[in-house]
Symmetry: C2
Subunit: 143 residues, 2 copies
DNA sequence: TTTCCTGCAAAATGTTTGCAAGGCA
DNA sequence: TGCCTTGCAAACATTTTGCAGGAAA
């Protein structure tokens, strides 16, 4: 873990404490796994890197999501990846449909979407925007 | 089926024939179910309304998607809905996170997303944009 | 020492595959 | 007739639930 990652870890643990959630070894490992991976991971990768039960992974994903420190990335095939996020922030991604690498996109359409949704009588609004494609490496492999 | 729906059905069947796919009673029923529902359906609803095996539903979803007459709508929970689409078109939706009703949104960010993705070296680009919220009816039920 | 968290086992959910029978072209 | 499509059974992948033991505050 780099110094920055350690700081991020502390910040997230603090957030959990504020929400009256317990800070356990397992939880630290889940967060550390996501921080050091520097890319979104799926549940199985989290189990492996955190050396814990898959059930624990899923329960913590749910808990972290509620605490606003984690978000889900839906893949084209229905599976999902998970990544850390600051509370009240969220990200969109460019995901390779072959190797499933995901990188953050520097765009967000949140404001527009919120307006459209509210105009239709919806509240508690969230949105998902994911872009799928073939990354340059996978494109070469295919040729 | 309204006259318009019958015409749409014919158009889709023609498209299938062009693609050398067979036009069967089951396929007609899948498409008719989606046309008359006038909203996206999940696999189980398609099985029920078309009175056919779930396996057949999934195989036809895949076949129709390849033929460009159907698209998937990912839900927040990882499940998916299906709806008819014209080839080379696609839609975005406002989905209730409670009752899962989905309505089409009249927005698309395709051009921007394609540019961003290509700038990152990606090809074969697609994107998903779905807005989730609580519809006014479900909001009331909650209170 | 109370309450929350974890692991194990098992179940539920959604989707895919193998194979033989059936139906469109 | 020939090949595509279908249904059944079973496998598979992912996620959820029940319960007893374990650990944080």
């Amino acid at each position: 873990m780099t110094a920055t990652q350690t700081r991020d870890l502390e910040a997230i643990l603090t957030r959990l404490k504020e929400r009256k959630m317990r800070v356990t070894k397992k939880r630290e490992r889940v967060i550390a796994a996501l921080l050091t991976a520097e890319k979104p991971l799926n549940a199985e990768e989290l189990r492996e890197r955190g050396d814990l039960d898959l059930v624990t992974v899923y329960r913590n994903i749910e808990a972290f999501e509620k605490a606003g420190v984690l978000q889900r990335i839906p893949l084209e095939n229905g599976a999902q990846l998970f990544e850390l996020t600051a509370p009240d922030e969220h990200y969109h991604h460019l995901v390779c449909r072959e190797c499933h690498q995901a990188e953050r996109l520097d765009v967000c359409v949140g404001e527009e979407m919120r307006k459209v949704a509210e105009a239709n009588g919806y509240s508690h609004i969230a949105h998902v925007l994911e872009v799928y494609g073939l990354c340059s490496e996978c494109l070469e492999d295919e040729a």
